[in-house]
Symmetry: D2
Subunit: 475 residues, 4 copies
């Protein structure tokens, strides 16, 4: 599975801002389970104070009632993250806060990956800046602090003139909230409204939970500034012709109940399933998905191919982080902890298994074997997206290319490795067709075709040209 | 939702007995999330020692590597529980261990509910026994300790002559394991084999995870004694004609990948859905379930009624125990944390919603309202079992009768309360028909029809005749 | 150092009983640092409920505000303990509570050691009693539960007819508190009064802290019964002629600000120092103590011998339980963590070092060496009590006899082992003379002369006659 | 009591550097109990890595075996602290580490207080530096990072040219350790040697514990550079004529077994007591100290005045941080938790009580009252130093001037407030005389006479001239 990246939630102008942010993070938990944090701003008596609370783990573990109570103020910002360049250090946990003489404390949360962070960092360190995290996102802070412009808006412009790559960014400062997206619009960021307060979030499902209504996406290259009752916006540079929204958001990352430009992610996945069935029909007895992300694809596939859809793999809801494996061999142990087949459905049947995507293939091999063990007569494996052949440099944690199965092997070889009776991916054209309902959008397919819109700098560029280079981690 | 009760797992003759028990408990986690424990026996040098580890919370939270390492020996017993008579006290957490001069330490784990526990307890206390827990299950221990018989087998017989009600029981002592079921066979208990070692578990899914094969059920009234390489069995009393296996096991408690007497639970639920569709057909656009237990019923229903089945309610996988609700109103807050509708699927549609059962109805009301809010034109609510009108005294935690919606209101009233356009339960005949595939079994339907097979004693009997008496909690 | 044993504190009739007990335990902390607990009784509405809170560690670590708040009622009982027969198990932590049909919950706390506990236990187990701790003190509970007498007073009499050995015992039940001492009066127990409430405690320093006034000692063999406003008392058996109060209480266990029968412990120790100086005068430059218990002895010694007293060993106040020792050798590491000499005071001086007693001698050896290293010209070691040559079976944790240095070696040999220039113990006559101010008391000197007042049973008796038998641990 | 400030310990060239630092911090624990930390440097394979471990609480609570194991390398630095300008934030806990492109990670630990920190900070922030702590000590880091000099030595010189105030500083970087003191030498810093490794520490008692020998003090204004086997040194500026070593180090802060310029602190305190007795003799029956710091003063006093010295106040060794006070009044509760009088010594006696110093007087009032309650006929209170009338800006946490009792009231008034029969302070001349044995030193007496050697800047200067200004906290 590709690792999900990060989720952001900001609220301005609500009495219980930090509580709403907490709920939003909870809805965005699937975007990052490693760490989370919330920062709030509050004008006490005469001075503007900030409050923060961060920790490793799930939102429900890290943030409790007393944390919420301590996060005072009507302006709050939260972040969930999967992993960053900097490894597991608490100081890497966002949102970051830094204090400025001119604007007081500024909170910042980032989803994405800068492609020239190393170059910027080296330059600033030579000038005496001290970096206290190993996260790319700290670069934003130092650029803002170094800018000699007067207003925060102009400092943001300065900063956007220097950084390159993927970023959806939310800033809180004084009594304002800023929502910012890079020019390509790689990562999502939506605007919502709840009564008199403004909300920004990575996905619309976070708006649903708190009863906020969806207003619109932040546009690529746009800086939206929210104040109590007001919203204004500017573009730091000229707009690009082409948008490059991450196609993996509808394929896998986004929750099925979220919207991509007013299209339901569930429906987009169902569509992928329908087209996949058209492209690679096979005669079989039942269709079932590897839960949960594959299910809407399987429903589309089953309907199109007029085959019965079953839930033949039962998912254990209590899967935790680490397991104590006995020394003695248990067949396909890791997979069995999560999934158990309903053997009566599979025995002596020709089955079509649907998954959303294929990354390393290690889990798929075990699932195939488990299904075979359960007595399947024929196994036909179908993937809801094209072969992933390239690393992402725009905020998705992808393994090294040598570990991307489809970067190393062709479809025939993969079929043999997985011991499937047949194997088919959704074609790139099929994917584009499925996504064509999203009228206003165009998508980034770099992980399927290596066509990168944004140049990659320094070390990163070396990795990009080295098929065996290290994978890139991001937030 | 009716609260699940308890799960038991025992292993004899395996080098890593406690690790296997741990995995079994993990597969049985759905049967009890409140507390868990493992006890093991090990013959060190000359003496037989026991080791135990218990705690509140999920198996993955309570039991870690060092706990497993400390649970030495090839004979181990584990327990997960939901709740007991005695409330939240660590000493109530099973398995219980007690030391006897004759047999050394004995470990015991119980799933069920005794109907004459209070009477036995009062009698023993008068004679000087000191009870240290508030759990019914402690009665077993004192009866064994008081028996003046020589062998453990005969002491077990003495004990079974006194206790009444529901019990599936596993005992470990010396180098033996005993699996025991009450004469009615209310609660499940299955026997498995993994290489040279014996396994007993509440459900077959626990055998699957550790690669053990299913051997057979323990019979009602049977005491099975396992020794290294041997298995023997006896009946303490004459067998009853009629079995009374809990019908809620196939309806809701058991995992869909478990077996009930060689029948797949998934298939039984699918069958309930088919019969439900025959009994209460309605014209509609889509069918969907309240995840997860309703899904197999919905699949059966959709197939029978030739309507498309969708996953129109997205479940949040990161739901934790407690949530911090803001003071300001959020519509249907509690439900939304768990479920969010895919509005595109529901808007302007006639929908059929399937749930496994209806207990208090409080959550159902909120779900109906949320679906209506999402734009459904018509809502038809279908339940996979008959109306629950009576409390269970045999090990299922049921609310007081006055809180059982179907004990207080008829179907028409419930429809109005839930604001559904139509409402239908599976009939009791339909349920019996769906379960008729389980050839060797007969079932207890007391919660649907109040026909209790086993008499209820003392205080409990008062509650049974008082329709507003307190509910019964159990393990 | 001999290990201190246990401390008890009970309060009846005070609104904040558990808070007062907590403070009393805090003052008695020196009597046991391993574990502690408090139990309270409260009559809620119609029923009598108990509350308890226990844990490993110091009072200030285990008991917090919310624990105190939960310990409702005006009748409370607490216990600190060093160690018991049963090792480190939470269930061994006192006070014990058990529920009786006749009297409701009974709380019990014990300081001492029974000499026939094993025999009683074996007998009761045969009859079906289940012991859940490995502590001797559980015997009291089962004897009370088994007694077929009607009143609690008579059950206590029954119990006292069976147990042998050392016990100061406090019981709380219904609305009464009982304070009980064995016929020999081995261990202390004092009565105090604070306004309208009654207090019992192991030492008078616990009364001081809570502003209670000292009333009197509980007499050997006496059962004192406290009710609101009333106090009554009886003797279970005929009184013994001879009392045997533990002489180690004034020598080492009791706090210097406590009283032994109206005599100040500080003054008794000072007296020991004076007599020691008379008995074993030596010419020297300074006198100093091994802090802290040796200091009053040193003050008496210095005054009598007209030598200057200094604090030449500085004690580190932050000594915790465990230390991380480097692999590379540090001279006298363990001692240095606790004590550091003021070298300027010692260099080229003839010094007299005072300690309260000599047990294993291992620490003394290191201290002698450290003092020598600091440049002392002559070292004269003086002990405030006679050589300890026998184990205690009455509640003091003594090492095996083979580990008691004075049981194995004579004074001359010990002097050589410690590398002292001279060595002297207080004589037994000297000790008796120092204690002669305590008019009403006579003392147990068994650890100095092996003359045991109370017979020792079963296994324990074997150990008593075996000079290399295991030491006895107690509470 | 004046709050102690901070303690530093550094070790270079020892295999178990972090373990030795840990022990050193343990010996310096009295200098700061709020938080502690250790940083180490290790050259792994090709790169230089740092490791750190920090936390709130005592050394023995924060640092465990696995922390020590993780702190690899033969160069380590530790810090204990009481409190800082910045309040209770973990990021304020020292040592600080920052990464530099030129020198790799640098660790730094500071004892003292800068008088121009705010001015420097404001200036650097304007230039784009981001401060992540609220501690003054972070200023050192930014000044080093900003310096455009090549070598670390020259950067240190640059830094020392800018900062003003009190600082004893230890730096570790690459394979070197630097020990630095400000020109006045306000705070202590000593050099030791253990076999081949160099040690620096705030007090010599830390050397004793690890068997290192005392080499010499770091000189005021000196930068000592340690490399494996080498030691070199330079002065950043011209030396000052006058040294200003904190007189409160011998009075109260330093452990009695530490040395001040080769003089024993114990002996200096004893001398203060002797002179105090000469200055303010009074006829009485006994002399006793408020433990523990007053004891050497009392010994000196008693000897000089030929009166018997007793330990009439027994200190509870188990005093923890917080206590749960009952609602009902307990006389002098707070004091009694720590100290209990031995009434037999005090009753009907004329007593002289010795304390090291008088700050707010709140505790003294309670002690006086408690002694009176214990029956003292006359109470004569004697203080081992002059009246404290001014705040310290050089690293000692002093309360606001309005809370310094001696800044507000004269001796006669204080006597009345404390309800003493007589009261006397050591005179400033007497103190100077007592310290005159320390030949090479001269002392800072600013807290007694307001004569500050180093100017105070910005806000701080306002406070200095405002007698009711806020107190200054430091490290």
């Amino acid at each position: 599975m590709l690792k999900e990246e990060c989720g952001i939630m900001g609220v301005l102008g609500a009495k219980e801002a930090s509580n709403l942010v907490y709920l939003g993070l909870y809805a965005l938990q699937h975007r990052g389970q490693e760490a989370c944090g919330i920062v709030s701003l509050n004008r006490d008596e005469k001075s503007l104070k900030y409050y923060d609370h961060k920790g490793f783990g799930l939102v429900s573990d890290v943030i409790n009632r007393s944390a919420i109570d301590s996060l005072k103020g009507d302006l709050a910002l939260g972040h969930v993250r999967y992993s960053t360049q900097g490894g597991k250090l608490l100081q890497n946990t966002q949102p970051f806060v830094f204090k400025t003489p001119a604007h007081g404390p500024i909170g910042i949360a980032h989803n994405g990956n800068l492609t020239n962070a190393n170059d910027i960092k080296a330059d600033l360190e030579k000038k005496g800046s001290i970096f206290t995290t190993t996260s790319d996102s700290e670069v934003f802070i130092h650029l803002l602090a170094r800018s000699q412009k007067q207003s925060l808006e102009e400092k943001i412009k300065d900063m956007m003139g220097i950084v390159r790559g993927a970023y959806s960014l939310v800033l809180i400062a004084e009594n304002k909230m800023y929502a910012i997206r890079d020019r390509h619009g790689f990562r999502p960021l939506v605007i919502g409204k709840k009564d008199e307060s403004w909300v920004v979030a990575s996905e619309s499902c976070a708006l649903d939970l708190i009863d906020a209504c969806f207003v619109r996406d932040v546009e690529p290259g746009e800086v939206v500034c929210f104040k109590r009752g007001e919203i204004s916006s500017f573009f730091a540079k000229k707009k690009l012709e082409k948008r490059s929204f991450c196609s993996f958001e509808p394929i896998y990352f986004s929750r099925p109940d979220s919207l991509v430009d007013n299209q339901s992610v569930y429906q987009l996945r169902r569509k992928m399933g329908e087209i996949l069935a058209q492209e690679s029909h096979v005669d079989a007895d039942i269709v079932f998905a590897i839960p949960d992300s594959g299910v809407p694809v399987a429903i589309g596939y089953a309907e199109q191919s007029k085959l019965p859809m079953e839930l033949a793999l039962v998912r254990n809801h209590y899967v935790g982080r680490t397991f104590i494996e006995p020394t003695q061999q248990i067949r396909d142990f890791g997979v069995k902890l999560k999934l158990n087949p309903v053997s009566h459905l599979i025995k002596d049947k020709r089955v079509i298994i649907i998954d959303d995507s294929l990354v390393r293939g290690t889990t798929s091999i075990k699932i195939m074997r488990m299904i075979r063990q359960a007595g399947a007569k024929e196994i036909h494996f179908r993937l809801g997206c094209p072969p992933i052949t390239h690393s992402c440099y725009y905020g998705v944690a992808t393994p090294k290319r040598k570990n991307l199965l489809a970067a190393q092997k062709n479809t025939h070889e993969i079929k043999r490795i997985l011991e499937a009776d047949s194997l088919a991916f959704l074609s790139q054209e099929g994917l584009q067709q499925a996504l064509s309902d999203v009228k206003k959008q165009s998508f980034c397919y770099a992980c399927f075709n290596g066509s990168y819109e944004e140049p990659i700098f320094t070390q990163i560029s070396k990795e990009a040209t080295d098929p065996y280079g290290p994978g890139v981690f991001a937030c």
